[in-house]
């Protein structure tokens, strides 16, 4: 069963609703024990990077989460700040990230190609996806997703990038390395595009 890591930030209910619609079993996990038996993990997140990392630490679920992802190779999908947490660290905060996908989270405001644009990056944007990537199986060309963020993932290796979107420049909005995946946009709020992505993830 899919476990949604509920460490106190993020829109858990929206995922529950979406998976229910898709007919995919999912439940929220609030303790390390409740992560037990996870076939897939969703790591949501909103707000500030340090706040989210701190809450994950405080939840007591982090060691079990790390074990499931790095030892058991359970597929994990980080969403929004949950995706940013997969990186080594963020310019937004001081705490280290989970460091499951090498990269750093940077501010649009400190990038000369995007700093004159409205902030946050809010609304529907087109994804340029890596052809043949399993997260985008059965997708129509140029899928649209909803974004709401001011910081972006800057992957160290292009091999870890599954999609980019344009906001002043092409930033890495979907990353994927082995069993670890992350999306900056909100599949739980992106109509049939998001539903398809979550379905694809659940099928991994």
């Amino acid at each position: 069963m899919i476990r949604i890591v509920d460490y106190g930030v993020g829109n858990i209910q929206a995922f529950m609703t979406m998976f229910k619609r898709l007919g995919i079993e999912a439940s929220r996990a609030r303790t390390a024990g409740e992560l037990n038996g996870a076939t897939h993990l969703i790591l949501p997140g909103v707000g500030a990077f340090d706040h989210a990392m701190q809450l994950l630490d405080d939840s007591g679920m982090r060691p079990e989460l790390e074990r499931l992802v790095t030892k058991q190779q359970v597929p994990v999908l980080g969403i929004c700040v949950g995706m940013q947490m997969l990186a080594g660290g963020s310019d937004e905060g001081e705490l280290p990230g989970l460091n499951w996908i090498p990269g750093r989270v940077r501010a649009f405001a400190s990038n000369p190609r995007s700093n004159a644009l409205p902030m946050p990056h809010m609304g529907w944007n087109d994804l340029a996806t890596t052809p043949g990537h399993k997260l985008f199986a059965d997708f129509e060309p140029s899928p649209r997703f909803y974004f709401l963020h001011s910081y972006y993932f800057d992957a160290e290796s292009r091999a870890d990038v599954a999609a980019t979107a344009e906001y002043g420049f092409a930033f890495d909005c979907v990353v994927s390395r082995g069993n670890v995946h992350g999306v900056q946009c909100h599949p739980e709020k992106s109509h049939h595009f998001g539903a398809q992505l979550l379905k694809n993830f659940a099928g991994l």
Partner: protein, 262 residues
């Protein structure tokens, strides 16, 4: 490319969905949950739901209704009405809402936005400003109002919007009171002034009566949010209630054509 957001704005009054004119004469147009279901099917860009009773009555947000709306809504949802503390905002976000909008309470106390932004992140904080044209023989410009336009304030709306942006608003919604329900087009001058003055995303509400009006707004202001009430709940000259929204193709054509004129 980032697209303009075309946003139905639904008003809740006594548990039902209504549409006002000039912020008055609420007309019952249906059930809120049913409307959300229709906008899901039409894949609208976002949805904004404002409880127009809560601030006026000094009531708490209606959490039961918000939970139902959020559970049903498959697009980003912005909820406003009766939010006066960071705790209330956090509780609403936890119910599955993407953004909370603050209006009357922010005017009384911009520090509230800072506290709310601290609790839920500024990307989820929307400040809604009700603005109306000054009237009178030599009157020029706009004034800021609250409580369904019954209270008028001295602050200049543009300067105040900038102050709210600095205080922690991640988006500003400008609601043109005089245009509410008129369906004769947006106040383009006001929209442009705000666009030039603000760094956060802007959404304009009030006056849209056709997709052409949305086109005019986007041609003037570029990639912003275009919100509308009447346009998406009424059809035809007699304002028959019919929830509607452009198809993805209509939206693409509209936005492409408008932005080529920007």
């Amino acid at each position: 490319m980032l697209r303009p957001r075309i946003i139905p704005c639904l008003l809740v009054h006594k548990g039902g969905l209504v549409k006002t004119q000039g912020f008055k004469a609420p007309k019952y147009v249906g059930d809120p949950i049913n409307a959300v279901k229709i906008f899901n099917e039409k894949e609208s860009d976002e949805l904004m739901v404002l409880d127009i009773d809560a601030s006026v009555n000094g009531a708490e947000p209606d959490y039961a209704l918000i939970a139902k709306l959020a559970a049903e809504c498959r697009m980003p949802l912005c909820y406003g009405g009766g939010i006066t503390t960071a705790e209330q905002a956090a509780r609403i976000i936890d119910l599955g809402v993407e953004k909370v909008s603050i209006s009357a309470s922010a005017v009384a106390n911009p520090d509230l936005l800072t506290r709310i932004a601290g609790a839920i992140g500024r990307q989820s904080v929307v400040a809604v400003l009700d603005v109306k044209k000054k009237t009178g023989l030599f009157a020029k410009g706009y004034s800021l109002c609250t409580h369904n336009a019954k209270q008028v304030h001295a602050a200049d709306p543009v300067a105040f919007a900038q102050q709210l942006q600095a205080a922690g608003a991640g988006e500003i919604v400008i609601n043109a009171v005089d245009r509410d329900g008129e369906m004769k087009g947006y106040d383009l001058e006001l929209a442009q002034q705000m666009r030039q003055a603000l760094k956060v995303p802007l959404t304009v509400l009030g006056g849209a009566g056709s997709l052409e009006h949305i086109g005019e707004l986007l041609a003037r202001c570029g990639v912003i949010g275009a919100a509308a009430g009447s346009l998406f709940v009424f059809k035809g000259p007699y304002r028959a209630v019919l929830i509607n929204y452009p198809t993805p193709q209509q939206k693409d054509t509209l936005c492409r054509s408008a932005l080529s004129r920007y």
